[in-house]
């Protein structure tokens, strides 16, 4: 599904990703970890083709289509979704009206559908009439991200620290919904960026990667998580 080959990314002459290789197949869940500033979010911005994240060398392919030269909108239309670490606020448009824009067809059904998803995610319907993310708590903003994921039904989702700043209850709700989504759409893949090694209590990944200095330095399975827990990044990096 997603193949990244020998990727180098530059922002204004700073090399932020160096020789990165990654392959994610259909239906796989990958976890991406690494110390602060190692380039995790930069990688997600590069895949979603944010302006200024220039691919200097290498290839990103999604379902055999080269996406190096596409823009954010086009990448999104291929079925790639990014849940933002810090979802932005938009003044002047209600959450409901924003969500309405995400539906392609069957617009008649969207009201019921949005209500259903709000119930599932335990989002107070009052929020639908507020401006988008405006004055929402950190948890509500993250739930709003997952809500949009469930509407858009992407083939591949990057969840950038979906678990940061959440209380236990919200965390459970969010991962239950992600699991539900995987169950329904079995060939969808995930790249989950996190600092939280307890994440395996909620979701079972196929691979775990450690990103350091713009490069994946280690790939492994659940054992790798235990190692990180025990020794921290530093010791693994020095191996």
């Amino acid at each position: 599904m997603l193949i990244i080959k020998n990727l180098y990314v530059k922002i204004k002459n700073n090399l932020i990703i160096k020789k990165l290789n990654l392959k994610i197949n259909k239906g796989e869940i990958h976890i991406l970890m690494g110390p602060n500033g190692s380039g995790k979010s930069s990688l997600s911005y590069t895949i979603t083709r944010k302006v200024n994240y220039n691919i200097y060398k290498g290839k990103i392919k999604f379902n055999n289509k080269l996406i190096n030269k596409l823009n954010t909108y086009e990448v999104s239309k291929l079925g790639i979704f990014l849940s933002f670490q810090y979802p932005i606020e938009i003044y002047g448009i209600t959450m409901f009206n924003f969500l309405k824009n995400l539906f392609k067809k069957n617009k008649n059904k969207y009201i019921k559908y949005i209500f259903k998803l709000c119930n599932k995610l335990d989002i107070n319907k009052k929020y639908l009439n507020r401006y988008f993310n405006y004055g929402f708590s950190g948890g509500e903003k993250k739930k709003n991200e997952i809500l949009q994921m469930l509407i858009l039904k992407p083939k591949f989702s990057i969840l950038d620290e979906i678990d940061s700043g959440l209380d236990i209850d919200s965390l459970k709700i969010i991962f239950n919904n992600i699991k539900y989504y995987i169950k329904k759409k079995k060939d969808s893949s995930f790249l989950i960026i996190t600092h939280n090694t307890n994440i395996i209590n909620y979701i079972k990944p196929n691979f775990i990667h450690i990103l350091y200095n713009g490069k994946i330095i280690k790939t492994g399975n659940l054992h790798l998580l235990n190692k990180i827990n025990k020794y921290g990044y530093k010791n693994i990096i020095n191996f």
Partner: protein
């Protein structure tokens, strides 16, 4: 939204058509005879003719072409304009007029019960709808010409009291040659139950339109009034110089909304309306005047809706969105003159510039010596889209007492890349994303408009955006 997108894609200035119609047009140029002729055609009272000539005399004598505005354009040749054009009324022309307004989306025989419209075509008012309902309340709403004949005393008492003889070059010109516009009088204690509105249409190629509007709301009364404007697509520039005077007597409230969508010129800046407008309101004790404007048209706009807060506790409000594209230039803002005690004013100005356009805010907030404990809040935000457009702010503040408060906030933003990225990531294309962001930027003004027009204003902004984005 899908429908909206389709509409956006088909964008053209849809009001740009021309109606071929028989009309009587006065020869080009301005002189005493022309003014006398206008007055004669209109069957005006004698005092009006004298008043016009007095204004004209002053205009000739002090003919100082104003150059202070932040606008660049060729000097207007006032002898190359016809100052009056009237349709020859018969069955055939009537049909054509009906067709024209239907095409403009404001059919004359509309069945909306919550609005009364005065239709102004070139130099004359064609019809005013729903007079009867208004009569029940004692409300007068008609063309200013009819008012001059029927309510001469009332007009004489108020006209020129807010915008005086020596006010400015264009108001002076307007006072000499104005042809039509609306007149409205709301009696004591009457809250006008429906929206009053005037639709201005310029059709003839060589005329200048000089509208004159006078609104008087007697003690404790209320009115919400709206004007809309369109003109055909042409390669030459046409002049529109209007004067609007509002008088809010004790405890009265006036809400005056404008949706200005004159033809704005083509991509290279050719053609379009020159829009030079003087708008001012006078507030007596406890009165309130609100100016709302959405300015998207005209190649040149020069307009400063203002309030004179004469009475104690009176309130003045100005909320504006101005969107410029291509080579449009706009110099707009407001003057708030605080004279009475405890007076308040709010200025909210939102400018959006695209392409090579120029968007200027110019304002004056003045507290007179006796205007104690008065307050003003000013907020000017500019949004720049692209690298070639520009935004300017010229705020002036004068305070002659020590107990008044002024707050001034001003920001200049480039379009929020993060918001754009977020929307794009959600599969919303640039057009929709921009319209979401622009809507957020201008919502503070739009939501104050009468409901129907707020939708129209939103659509208008979106349509104008499409022309340049994408």
């Amino acid at each position: 939204m899908n429908k909206k997108i389709n509409k956006i894609k088909k964008f053209k200035y849809k009001y740009g058509f021309y109606t071929k119609i028989k009309s009587k047009t006065l020869p080009l140029g301005i002189n005493k005879n022309i003014i006398k002729k206008i007055s004669k055609i209109k069957k005006e009272p004698k005092w009006m003719k004298k008043w016009r000539l007095k204004n004209f005399k002053y205009w000739i004598k002090n003919n100082k072409y104003p150059k202070w505005a932040n606008l660049k354009y060729k000097k207007i040749n006032f002898n190359f304009i016809s100052y009056f054009s009237e349709i020859i009324k018969n069955k055939k022309t009537n049909k054509k007029i009906n067709k024209t307004f239907k095409k403009l989306g404001v059919p004359i025989n509309n069945k909306k019960k919550n609005i009364s419209i005065d239709y102004v075509f070139d130099s004359t008012s064609i019809k005013t709808t729903y007079n009867k309902i208004l009569k029940k309340y004692g409300i007068i709403f008609c063309s200013i010409n009819k008012a001059l004949r029927k309510y001469s005393k009332l007009v004489k008492k108020y006209i020129g009291t807010v915008v005086p003889l020596n006010d400015n070059f264009y108001s002076n010109l307007n006072s000499s040659v104005f042809s039509d516009g609306s007149f409205c009088y709301i009696p004591k204690g009457v809250k006008c139950p429906i929206e009053l509105s005037t639709y201005f249409r310029i059709n003839n190629n060589l005329i200048g339109q000089f509208e004159r509007t006078l609104i008087i709301v007697d003690e404790g009364g209320y009115v919400s009034y709206l004007e809309g404007c369109t003109a055909p697509i042409r390669n030459n520039n046409q002049l529109h110089a209007a004067v609007v005077e509002l008088i809010a007597l004790k405890n009265a409230k006036i809400k005056y909304s404008t949706i200005q969508n004159w033809y704005s010129g083509n991509k290279k800046g050719k053609g379009g309306i020159y829009n030079f407008v003087t708008k001012r309101g006078l507030c007596y004790k406890n009165a309130k005047i609100t100016w709302l404007q959405v300015e998207t048209g005209s190649s040149i706009t020069w307009k400063y809706p203002s309030c004179i807060l004469k009475g104690d506790n009176s309130i003045g409000e100005f909320r504006s969105i101005s969107l410029t594209k291509n080579y449009q230039q706009i110099d707009t803002g407001s003057k708030m003159i605080h004279i009475g005690k405890n007076t308040k004013s709010i200025i909210i100005s939102k400018g959006i510039s695209l392409n090579n356009s120029k968007n200027t805010y110019r304002g004056l907030v003045k507290f007179e010596k006796n205007s104690k404990n008065s307050k003003n809040y000013t907020q000017c935000d500019s949004l720049l889209i692209g690298n070639k457009c520009s935004a300017f702010t010229y705020p002036s503040i004068i305070s002659m007492n020590s107990s008044s408060k002024i707050e001034h906030e001003s920001t200049i933003l480039k379009i929020e890349e993060e918001q754009l990225f977020y929307c794009n990531q959600r599969g919303l294309n640039k057009e929709i994303a921009m319209s979401i962001i622009i809507n957020g930027f201008s919502i503070e003004v739009i939501k104050k408009l009468p409901l129907e027009y707020s939708l129209e204003a939103k659509e208008l902004l979106n349509l104008n955006l499409k022309k340049t984005v994408g």
